[in-house]
Assembly symmetry: C2
Homo-oligomer: 314 residues x 2
Amino acid sequence: MSLLLSAPGWDLAAWAGRISKRAPGRRLQVAPDRFSGPEAVDYVLTWNVPHGLLSTLPNLKVIFWLGAGVDHLLADPNLPDVPIVRVVDPSLTRRMTEWVSLQVLMHHRAALTYLDQQRRVEWRSHNHPMARDVRVGVMGLGELGRDAARMLTMLGYQVAGWSRTAKTIDGIDCFAGADGLAAFLARTDILVSLLPLTPQTRGILDYGLFSGLARDGVLGGPVLINGGRGKSQVEADILRALDDGVLIGASLDVFETEPLAADSPLWAHPRVIVTPHVAAESDPTDLVDYVLTQIETFEAGGALKNRVDRTRGY
Amino acid sequence: MSLLLSAPGWDLAAWAGRISKRAPGRRLQVAPDRFSGPEAVDYVLTWNVPHGLLSTLPNLKVIFWLGAGVDHLLADPNLPDVPIVRVVDPSLTRRMTEWVSLQVLMHHRAALTYLDQQRRVEWRSHNHPMARDVRVGVMGLGELGRDAARMLTMLGYQVAGWSRTAKTIDGIDCFAGADGLAAFLARTDILVSLLPLTPQTRGILDYGLFSGLARDGVLGGPVLINGGRGKSQVEADILRALDDGVLIGASLDVFETEPLAADSPLWAHPRVIVTPHVAAESDPTDLVDYVLTQIETFEAGGALKNRVDRTRGY
């Protein structure tokens, strides 16, 4: 039962190496360079597979998606009707939590201000609120959002969460649905989005939403952190909000179009931190083991875990 | 029983306000502007009180030190022989842990590299190790060191600690004394110093020590983070180590002389993060309450907590 690996833009050598080591008996093809037998492909391991490629695989049994959000995949008009399995990998979750913790701390502890002072050789201290007085709100309470919320709580922040359907997490105030959004925003100084991209979340991070964030917080204004999906944000609205003080800072790892266009004003904005979609990169070792274990279970007649619900979109 | 507040360079209005609110019946003098009755001073609340001032207070009963390290105080040749109480305040500890977590994450997640790419409008990702593969070593296992070590463990790092005398902390490999130092350094990728300044720790962070840090780590070389005392570090050695690759980065909140001299090459070094002694600022609300509670206990015949041992130096 053989495999195809397709992830445009990734360095796939480490992935192929890990697969060959972990499952030396399986045939492995790598698109586009080492891909000559579409009829031999039983399983695809992919991130951002080109639309149309999957429909050329007559014997495809399962699609394993190596990234977080599956919106690109579900947008393929010729998507085969086989199970889609999302990677739910503790290492990916922990990487996202590292990035979120770093960004929250950078804004809370004025890292950009101090780095700027350093460039100007200026020794000047500022009063910082305690973490316990800073209210962080996490939108999206899947694996990523829950883990980030827990770590932010341990760092001392007042953490609340918002999700489409009601959830319960120890120590975290949970809001849900359209009805809960206004109250969630009104108590939030730092907004962290880890939302999947669905028709409901496309463009949700817009000027109207930013305007609902807390104005009375100890940071002097609200901050946006998006580690989720770029198409959830309206970049023109982020810039407008930063320029008129509706937001005082932002950290963005994802963008409406990636790579971020060279002429985007986000690059040079003094209150914006841009990272190039690196918050939670997939790690070959853990993820290959995860996928191959699932394949072995599947071939032994067991059920696949973490299947994507195509209607729900994640 | 009246109070004197002295902390050169601090904005003391919030402190005075909190004291007046919490203990309206006590006379409060503030040096140097509102200080006319030295004989009336029973208690001093201070950070970096000028040498010689304390010996002019004939009725001084207790010195409350509002910062972390008391080395400046103990260096006063005319230091009165009264109890010295250190502030051991959870809020100060948590602030230091925030700063340490931020600096460790910045180096681990290559924040300076991404900020530099952002300035150059460059979209490029780098492989980052997982936190679980990064070995952090904390020197100094007092209140600050223990709390930071615990948080770094929760963030996923492999954490070890080193202290003068042997300590035991759950989940953290503890090394001690001169005999344990080499083994501690040899397993450390990111060295965090939260040491007090004593004759034994003066200048301890030198080229020889840096040379003992791990060379085989996943970050490509060792990093120094000093949130403890400036005189524990040899800045010429830090620069030499950065320039020849013995260190690949540093975060410094404290310096041999503060403010850091404008002509120090540390300001402009691309691998150094300079913050102006702001890692763990004292918060008036909590600390005033802490000090006044201790004074009330003392006046009722109770024992003072967290007294400094002058011989030990902390």
